[in-house]
């Protein structure tokens, strides 16, 4: 069993050598420390890029396809969704939720994730989307893990779990910002 050891590069001394001894003994502690650095750099998730974009100004812009590079060891992720709005109107044609998927989790039917927008007195009333001059907030998508959904749940995105990085295609609707964070990783690196 070898669990992932989270490493905070800010608090680490990145310039200090592992050892200053000219002929160090091959102690297990020394070897473990040497081994830990490449592994830690490999499996630490990459920064979750905050993409700011106008996915609100026209219905033709509501859909957004993008992709992210996923570091080894990831299983699931969540997303932060930025939204901007102005007045409250009867916003026919728009839906009261973000649709979202990862390619690994499935792109159609019940695999499509629904993360709520603001809900008003009547479900048919929504904020009027506004990118440039509105009020704004950020919502995190759901934290539940349901890999075989029977409905369009607000749940964690599914990722491929591997021992090398890969590009995960993604999709989101009605957003002014999107960022992905790996929230669930393998319990035992020996199983990678």
């Amino acid at each position: 069993m070898r669990p992932i050891q989270p490493r905070n590069f800010y608090s680490d001394d990145l310039t200090a050598p592992i050892t200053g001894e000219p002929t160090p003994p091959a102690s297990s502690a020394l070897l473990a420390e040497a081994d830990s650095w490449p592994v830690a750099v490999a499996v630490t998730p990459y920064v979750g890029t905050a993409h700011i974009f106008d996915g609100l100004s026209a219905s033709g812009l509501f859909d957004r396809y993008l992709a992210a590079v996923i570091a080894p060891g990831a299983i699931h992720a969540r997303a932060a969704l930025s939204r901007g709005w102005a007045t409250i109107v009867n916003s026919t044609g728009a839906t009261n939720y973000h649709e979202m998927w990862s390619s690994d989790g499935g792109t159609t039917g019940n695999d499509v994730i629904h993360t709520p927008w603001h809900l008003m007195q009547s479900l048919s009333y929504l904020p009027e989307f506004e990118f440039q001059y509105g009020a704004a907030d950020i919502a995190d998508s759901g934290d539940g893990i349901v890999d075989s959904p029977t409905n369009n749940l607000d749940r964690q995105l599914e990722l491929q779990t591997g021992s090398s990085p890969y590009v995960e295609p993604l999709f989101v609707t009605q957003a002014a910002g999107f960022s992905l964070v790996v929230t669930d990783r393998v319990a035992d690196l020996e199983n990678l």
């Binding site: 070898r2 989270p6 905070n8 590069f9 800010y10 050598p17 592992i18 050892t19 200053g20 000219p22 002929t23 160090p24 091959a26 297990s28 070897l31 040497a34 081994d35 650095w37 490449p38 592994v39 750099v41 490999a42 499996v43 630490t44 998730p45 920064v47 979750g48 890029t49 905050a50 993409h51 700011i52 100004s57 026209a58 033709g60 957004r64 396809y65 993008l66 992709a67 992210a68 080894p72 932060a80 939204r83 990118f131 440039q132 001059y133 704004a136 907030d137 950020i138 591997g162 021992s163 090398s164 590009v167 002014a176 910002g177 960022s179 992905l180 964070v181 929230t183 020996e190 990678l192």
Partner: protein
Amino acid sequence: MAITTPSDIIISSASQLWLPSMAQEPLKTALENANYLMRWHQPPLASVCFTAENALTRSSIYIVPVMPSADALRYSLEHRLVCTNASQSVTVTVDETATYAGAGTSWSNIYSQAVTTSSTAGGLTTHTKSNQPIAATTTALRVTYTAPAAGSRNDHHVLVYPSPSAPSAGIQPSGAVPFDDGLITHGDEAAIHTEWINRCKTTAVAILTDRKQNALSFCQDETNQLHQWNSKGTDFYPLPPGRVWFPNQGPTVTLDLRVLGKVDGGANTDLLRVRQVGVPGAKTVTFNADETIKSGTLEVKLQGSGLMTYADLELAVKRTTGNKTRLMSAMAFWTPGD
């Protein structure tokens, strides 16, 4: 003698680490994992969702400031766009420059390729171009998409990430040093010396800090911006903030900012703003909108915990009376450890 580069990170078992045999392992695996990082550490150099008007029937040109590796690596590029009509020809061109100077910029071509879009009207087109060298001195990429012959086009996303070749002998400008197994394969004949132990860390850290990670992105067309900040007053008007995730890092990180904007007239001083929001005492940086790529740093206080450690960042723009301010690009880059 060989420089072996695994295609997957190799995990030594706990028992291998804590009960090491009197032989070349586990140090050989650790050093080959450092070689693995040189080939396979692939954080995004740029990940940009474009902002443009709906249903484009013209070419688009996006200026994307970047901070590439000192090792002049190859990068792979993935473009995502949607055309209303099936099977259109769109030419994708990517150029680089060391100095952006508006219309007077000297661009070097990285590649240009005619892409046939999705055979389904309105379907997603993903165009991947692998292993294109980007010079260490490059400060901006220019991404150009031509108009389809019929219908319209929406520009969705470009992703640029390192895809270097397997390492070859010699110290790299980043400080990374590949491992050759010439001596260690005779581990019972050669000493386990300090440099091998330390190289596991120094090479890992060199790769980690050399390959900047794109923390924030916003990009509009170079000449036809959808948003121009021309209809309201002369205060700062913010865009919706974005949340950047820094898994397990903190309590603060410092970001490198690259911002490009211009004005149609009047003063251009301090019209572009980047700041953190949602925490007391958050810092703010302003930039001139003078049609050059401005540089700065922003220290942010991280919120949350564990993998969900984050900072919320906000871009804002203001104008002078009677003039427009055009924000073309804003990028932030994170160097782990900063």
